[in-house]
Structures are given as C-alpha cells and as structure tokens.
Amino acid sequence: MGIGEAQIVNQVLRIAEEELGLPKGSVDLSAKLEDLFTDSLEWLEFINRLRAEVGPMTDGQATACETMEDLARVYEVRA
C-alpha cells in the first residue's frame, strides 16, 4: 500500500470512529458497516462526511459497500 493509500485508509477509519464516538484505533478495515451503524441516518451522515472530506462517492458505490475496506477501496482506486 502506498503512502497516499495509507493516508486515505487512516482518514476513512478516523472519520468512522469520530462519527460513532469510538476510541481511536477501534475500527479496522474488516469492520462490517451493518455492525457499526444501526441507524440509516447515522450511516448517511458518515457517507456524506466521507464525500465532503475524502472525495466524491456515487450512490451506487455507497450502496455497494458492506465493510470499511469496501469504502476505503472506493478512494484507493484514485489515490
């Protein structure tokens, strides 16, 4: 993984931890979104924050992601 990709991964994980009020380092790439987010509004706010701070993500990409790794890969492709 290149430096750019590692930064993106860290940013995605940090945003998830902040949105969920979880300690730093508690969310990793294997985490399933259905385990992290029990509320759709909470999930949507997380996705919109990724869009604002990391980069664009289509509805189709957001809908297809089931894990934190899936989300990171949306941006890694561009890194």
Partner: protein
Amino acid sequence: MKFELESWDNLWRDGQEIFPVHFEELSLHKDRVPLGMDDGMYRSLEAAGRLHVLTAREEGKLVGYYIAILIPNHPHNKEAGPVSSTDMFYLLKKYRRGGNGAKLLMAAENTLRKRGVTKASISVKLHQNHANLLKALGWEPTDLVLQKLL
C-alpha cells in the same frame, strides 16, 4: 444486500410472508381497512407501464421493497414529465442496519431517475417517522397528509 428492479410477479410470489408483517407494523385502522393486496390491480398497473418495483434481497431472500406508481405527467403539469408516488416501502426489522434503509431509498431514487421520473413523492407514518432520513437524502417536506374514515 442487493437492490434490483423486478417484476410484480416476483414480488407477489416472494412477498406473501412480508406483506402481513409490514401491514401489522405500520398500518392504521386495521379493523376497518384490513389487508387485502390487490394482485390484479398491480398487474394492470404494470401492464400499463405504471408500476415501479424495487426489491431488497439478502442472499436471494426478499427482505424489503420500494413500490411506486407512475403517471406520464401530473394532471396539473402536463409538460413537466413523469411523476411518481410512493405506494409503499419496507425493510424487515432484522435488516435495518448498516444503512440499508437509506440504501433502499437511494436505489429507489436512482432507478426512478433512470426511468425518466422528474418528481417523486413519498409519505411516512407519523408513528414511524423517517422524515429526518428523507430530508438528509434531499427530500423536501411539502404537504401534510390527513385521513378520515368515512
């Protein structure tokens, strides 16, 4: 979870267990307005190109749906293009995680848009009010719906 446009026939076949669960959870006035899904009416709407059926499936099992009824234009706006009215949307409780509810609505918007719908309408029950989610998805509160048993 997969969200796909399907035929009414598929939903009718696979939805027989979910429809009563949906009805029980959300419907009002159950004693006066009992559940009685009109298969024939839905088939007529579909044959006329007026039905939009989006399913949510988990490993092939139907776990939710979004249905809309379409008309070529609102009678007040004949040049404004097709409009849709949400008939019903539902996701089994067990699957309301990981943003699946939002994903179902996002898939509904995108498939309606691809179908040429220019304006979509939706309503929510006050006792299960998803307005905040819909507003976060860009839906705008415009009307207040009231009902009366006559």
